[in-house]
């Protein structure tokens, strides 16, 4: 699969949160400074409502205007904070697979691929990707006919085929049942390492963070209402 390897080759830049801090109507919500190296998954944990998803929305570029954010998000030395979402090239995975219901499985995969005139080549990449996740021959299927696990795998593949520079994961395993969850964790984290992508995982499930095997940042609501981030592991010192 030529195109896939190509992706793995280009992205070796870390994802950096430089003094990022988000507030809502003067009330500070969450702040984070972190450097995520290629192939590393940093997990952000905390109870619901502390602003984990807000942090992710800021990184992805669709923070609601009600919030006020300062700080910089960078890929290597390139600042992406002022770019629109579409130019940031960050791959997103949500709780739901969010496969476009009006497109076939193959259509969903093709949707995110960079444009190219070689239709047959695109076709080959899609077929290869499908067999890669054990869904050979599923290309023409309606996404609504897939099982939850199958949908999750297609969603992952759709993101990877778009050649992202980094990954943002918003509780991607929380809606899967227990047996599938372990399987999907291995698949997702395995691919992230294989492609050498920096990844930020937002979760409230400690097992997710442990499976990610990277640094864990705990967000907790302090008495002032401000959330502070603390490195729980010693990985930060390594740099």
């Amino acid at each position: 699969m030529p195109e896939l390897r190509d992706t793995a080759g280009t992205s070796r830049r870390p994802l950096i949160f430089d003094g990022v801090s988000i507030s809502l109507q003067e009330t500070p919500l969450v702040s984070l400074s972190a450097r995520i190296d290629a192939g590393e998954v940093v997990s952000v944990m905390g109870p619901s409502g502390v602003g984990k998803s807000t942090l992710l929305a800021f990184a992805a570029g669709f923070l609601a205007p009600a919030f006020h954010a300062s700080g910089d998000v960078r890929l290597g030395d390139q600042s992406i904070t002022s770019l629109p979402t579409s130019a940031r090239r960050l791959g997103l995975l949500f709780q739901d697979a969010l496969l476009f219901p009006h497109l076939s499985v193959a259509g969903n995969l093709a949707f995110g691929m960079p444009p190219s005139r070689h239709r047959r080549q695109r076709r080959e990449v899609i077929d290869q990707a499908l067999s890669d996740i054990g869904l050979e021959g599923f290309g023409e299927r309606d996404p609504a006919t897939l099982s939850g696990g199958q949908r999750a795998r297609v969603a992952l593949m759709r993101t990877l085929l778009s050649r992202p520079q980094a990954m943002l994961l918003d509780e991607p395993f929380s809606k899967l049942d227990a047996t599938l969850r372990q399987e999907m964790r291995e698949l997702v984290f395995g691919r992230i390492r294989e492609y050498g992508l920096p990844a930020l995982l937002v979760t409230h499930d400690r097992a997710d963070a442990e499976a990610a095997a990277g640094p864990i940042i705990e967000l907790s609501s302090a008495s002032t209402g401000q959330t502070t981030s603390t490195w729980r592991s010693a990985q930060h010192a390594r740099r």
Binding site: P114, D142, P164, L168
Partner: protein, 575 residues
Amino acid sequence: MARVDQRILAADSWFVRLTRWAPLLTVLLLVVPVMVGVAGVTAPAFGWLPALGGESLSLAPWVALWHTPGLGEMITMSLSTGLISTAVALVIVILFLGAFADSAAFVWLKRLLSPLLAVPHAAAAIGLAFLLAPSGLAMRLVSPGLSGQKVPPDYLFPGDPHGIALIAGLVVKEVPFLLLMSLAALPQCQAHHRRHLALSLGYSPVTAFLKGVLPSLYPLIRLPVYAVIAFASSNVDVAMILGPSTPPPLAVSVVRWLGDPDLSMRFMASAAALTQLAVTLMALGIWWCIEHAIRLLATPCLTDGQRHLGQRLGVVLGGGLTWLSAGLLCASLLGLVLWSLAAYWPFPASWPTPLTLANWRAALPGLLPAAGTTLALAVAATLLSTILVVGCLESESLHQRSMGKGATLVLYLPLLVPPVAFLYGLVQLQAQLFLMPGFVLVVVGHSLFVLPYVFLSLAESYRRLDPRWSQVAASLGKSHASIFLRVRLPLLLAPMATAMAVGLAVSIGQYLPTLLLGAGRLTTLTTEAVSLASGGDRRLTAIYALAQLALPAIGFALAIGLPRLLHRRRRALLT
């Protein structure tokens, strides 16, 4: 990579710019004609109309209006038919919702709602007139067996002096509209949970609805109710077909005076048009007072613990009257079909023999061009409105900002100001504003009424669309324009098609804008049907009414069928 980014940014910028203009254009389209129109009718009302030699301000038009015989009756007729029909329709809707929420009857009526709404006012009025007239289908069914009548009995319908026929015609068309608006508002006030809670506390269903849901529902449907009052107190086409003629409601007289060959009548007609505006405002004011009185009087009842208030009344009246109005509408349509196919149909016979297509064949040469004009106007007005509405909603979602209360009021402006008042003002100013009467102006005139309905019918689905679809697509590198075309549009195809069908139906039903802004040169099915209705040819009238009805029906059929066909292999979109 830098080049790709530039391309995305460029594609974004034109789309974002386009959506930024949409709200402004929409506000201008809805506000300017109404304001200019009202101004254009105010000047001649005070004697100022240089084109006709009125170059000094005077109160002469008002004096002339004051001395018009029957003015008081006209105003009373407008006020009473407007208020009574709205009240009756609202009571029916409230009692029906209370008595039958979550029942099988409810599901059935919900399905009937869109087709019933699509029936143009004029067609419904003509159908009702043919059904209930002395020689109408209803009387034929009971004659001579039950009624003993061998010749049509002697009663005045339509056109009875108390306006009962007019009220009935308005109610039949208002019930589906208010029901639809209520159904859209119910989820917003957690009607389901509240009802269940009240039922568990031992309340009867109707009482549970009246005390637990209605107090929050009413504020949500207040504007639609006001729009209904404004329409009912100032409409022209239904009143021309069903209303009394000596004297008619004020709006009908205004149109007559406007069309008077004696041009000096225009001054008085302008004064009368302004009076119509005042009458509608007065109707709204009276309603507002009644509304507040009811709230004051009913507030203590909400907590008095009485659990079975109005239960039986609700089931009997709410159920009976809803089905009666739906039934009347359906029977009217059946009557129209029979009349259009009747060769010879003498009085007590309840079935015309023989049935023939000759009427249709004879009507076709006139029918086709009228249908063509109707369709062209409707398609143009609907496209213009849909583009602006989608632009507004898209800009709302792009900037993640919802519209304020003022914007909602702007949407309702053309529905609250009597058309006869501002449309005539526009006609008056055509020369000064270099507006050529004709197709384009009529399209703009139709859009004033089409746009609010397209907006009301699309906004809910548009705003409910999961924002993550766009977020996923953007993260996959798609520009705003591309996300709109490749994700949002396909996902919203069904509601978009329905909104456009609603738009077509509204435009097809327009009478006054076509007549006034087209300077009488554009013949549509509606203008033909209304003018035929006052003549004696029931067969031809029925044919035009049916054709007027068929176009929106085809629109709705397409709106339901096309998305299903296009998405036939996508289960998640077939709901």
